[in-house]
């Protein structure tokens, strides 16, 4: 069966390509980007070189090259062929230009006023200030705010400008004028230093464990055990109803909660006669916001536990229930001694799986509160998204976002490996029976 090996690889190849492109590459790139200052300002691909105001600041402060910075920032005016031609094209007075060439050719001036004084000194000087300005503007020479694709081009241009650079200066200049992203540890320093990080972390832990305990396992157990003690008809009905939130598209599901909570919504209308002022219940206080966030996520999360626990309960032999009833067990004792021991593994599984998914998913929070009010419900995953991908006018901080993500990716990989350990992996990899 020599071809079977190749067939296997052939059948696996498409999946492999997807995995490499959209799992392995992103994992590696998240790692790489986390150590860069990539943002909308630096662009994603390589950058260019530019002597700009913001580049001169570090040149002074970090390298102490004030003199060089001054020189580079200067604009000078030189009467040369190029400028004369440009002036002619711009509509400068022809006679004035001819005279300018003969009197001042190759002369430089430190600023525009000096050039204009020179133009005014001409016999054929233009009659209007505007005429003078049209001409003077054409002779400006500067490297500032000009984009160069390579550093060599920038150096050539600086040399043309008449500035000579030492090797140290070249190195410093290469550093400060690069506009693309560079590698840095700054993201992680920021992460540790910012008080927001701490708050987000506490939010995350609170959110994950509360939802997990109350709903994803707790309420899921309530649902599966209570439907177990029902005739099949109602049991199926309730399971379907509680599966609905998982099946409903998130945008619509959260919309229904918004309808419940907004200031002219259901809760406000119902509660107003009882003396509660109408308000947006979801966003009026951090406590209420959390209640809604946990309900919204918890009800979706409970359905998965419900299904898994239900099928585990169904797998318990009926004779076990009958025997315990004959032995005189109450329902509570039956739950405690027969059902719960059988659910140990499913509960462990759900706990691990849902910890990961709660830790990393932010869809419902984004739609419901967007982290509000005032960042009260901003969890780690959402913060990652907000920093890197949601643009409210500010720059998208890809690098910082990736660094935040990296923390989750590392946790994700570790927990996934634990998950792998918990399964009967050996059984899983039993060799094929056809050789």
């Amino acid at each position: 069966m020599g071809n079977s090996k190749h067939l296997g690889l052939f059948l696996l190849a498409p999946a492999g390509i997807f995995v490499i492109l959209f799992f392995l590459a992103p994992v590696v790139l998240t790692g790489v980007f986390g150590f860069t200052n990539m943002s909308t300002a630096t662009g994603i691909t390589g950058g260019s070189y530019m002597v700009s105001e913001s580049a001169m600041r570090p040149l002074r402060s970090r390298f102490g090259e004030d003199a060089l910075a001054d020189q580079l920032s200067k604009r000078i005016y030189t009467i040369d062929e190029e400028g004369l031609q440009a002036a002619a094209e711009a509509g400068g007075d022809a006679a004035a230009l001819t005279e300018l060439r003969s009197n001042f050719f190759n002369e430089s001036f430190g600023n525009r006023r000096e050039v204009e004084t020179a133009i005014k000194s001409l016999n054929a000087r233009p009659s209007t200030t505007r005429g003078i300005k049209i001409i003077s503007a054409q002779f400006v020479k500067s490297v500032i705010n000009v984009r160069f694709d390579t550093f060599e081009e920038l150096l050539t241009s600086i040399a043309d400008f008449g500035i000579e650079l030492s090797d140290d200066q070249i190195e410093a200049l290469a550093d400060v004028t690069y506009t693309g992203w560079t590698f840095t540890l700054q993201n992680f320093k920021t992460m540790v230093e910012l008080p927001d990080t701490r708050k987000t972390l506490i939010n995350t832990l609170f959110y994950v464990f509360t939802t997990l305990i109350l709903f994803n396992t707790g309420f899921a157990l309530v649902l599966s055990i209570s439907t177990h003690y029902m005739p099949t008809g109602p049991a199926g009905f309730f399971r379907s109803i509680w599966l609905l939130p998982r099946v409903t598209p998130p945008v619509l599901y959260v919309l229904m909660w918004k309808w419940l909570a907004w200031d002219t919504g259901f809760l406000s209308v119902i509660l107003e006669p009882m003396g509660f002022a109408p308000r947006n219940w979801m966003l009026d206080s951090p406590t209420n916001a959390w209640v809604f966030i946990i309900l919204i996520n918890g009800i979706v999360g409970a359905s998965m536990g419900m299904l898994i626990f239900s099928s585990a309960i169904k797998a318990i032999p009926a004779s076990l229930f009958h025997a315990s009833e004959v032995d005189g067990a109450t329902r509570r004792q039956q739950i405690w001694h027969i059902i719960l021991p059988q659910l140990r593994w499913p509960i462990l599984f759900i706990t691990i799986y849902q910890t990961l998914s709660l830790l990393t998913s932010f869809e419902y929070i984004l739609l419901a509160t967007d982290g509000g009010p005032g960042g009260a419900t901003e969890v780690w995953a959402l913060s990652t998204y907000l920093k890197a991908l949601q643009n409210y006018g500010g720059a998208l901080q890809y690098g910082y976002g990736a660094a935040l993500s990296l923390v989750l990716v590392v946790i994700g990989i570790s927990v996934s490996l634990i998950y792998l350990k918990l399964f009967d992996f050996k059984n899983l990899t039993a060799p094929p029976k056809i050789e």
């Binding site: 945008v251 329902r331 998950y419």
Partner: protein
Amino acid sequence: MSGNYRTWPTLVFLSVLTAPLILMYSYLFVDTITNTPPGSVIPNEFTLEHWRFLTETIPGRPSIWLATWNTFVFATVTMVIVLMVSSSAGYALSRLQLPARSFFLGGIMVLHAFPTVTLLIAIFLILQMLGLYNSLAGVILVKTALELPFGIWIMKGFYDTVPWEIEMAGIQDGATRFQVWTKLVLPQVKPAILALGIFSFLSGWSEFILPLVLAPDNNVQVLSVYLAALIADDQNFDMALFKSVGVFYVIPVIVLFVFFQNRLMNIYSGGTKG
């Protein structure tokens, strides 16, 4: 279930817990065809005006039909690719001799548990680099990739239940491994393909974050992003309109859910059981 315990207490208990959910879903549908006076929760008139978005394009938004078409293309193409790739890869992992087979299997399991949404930023940048940002093709590829570990896992599980002897018999009858797969084994896992297909379609239809981040433009907008943008627009707050768009959006989901409920229940739980 047995005759020794009374059932009505559990029925009452669960009915009380379930009532708010039923209320929310009921109002979702009722509000799309009625008007309710302010300060009341009881509708007082029947109307179809909330559904006018079907014929009039809402200013600043793409046409609902374009968004519907985009959503349909997104969900269908995702489903087809997921089915093709998972059914072939699942078979290879379940049945064929592979170099580093246990590595692949472990990899799929890790990916299955791995929270892919953490990779969003990197994926966003990759699509930018590939020039697939703001295209349906790009977001389809990403969605497919993220669905694959689950799909492969499900398919592998189903292939595992097909008796080896069927394959051995096929080989003895002179079939190649490829023929064994297509002619003998695939027909045995039809239920799995149906279930996974419905699951992937629904998953694509409901997807929000990926299109939001990777393809937000009006001409490639899907219904989830359309609806979210509508809701986020503070200038035109119209809950009944939102709900109507939402109901329009959710119709295929409800239909599939009603018809294939049991299969979906299996896949929602079975897929993650390992």
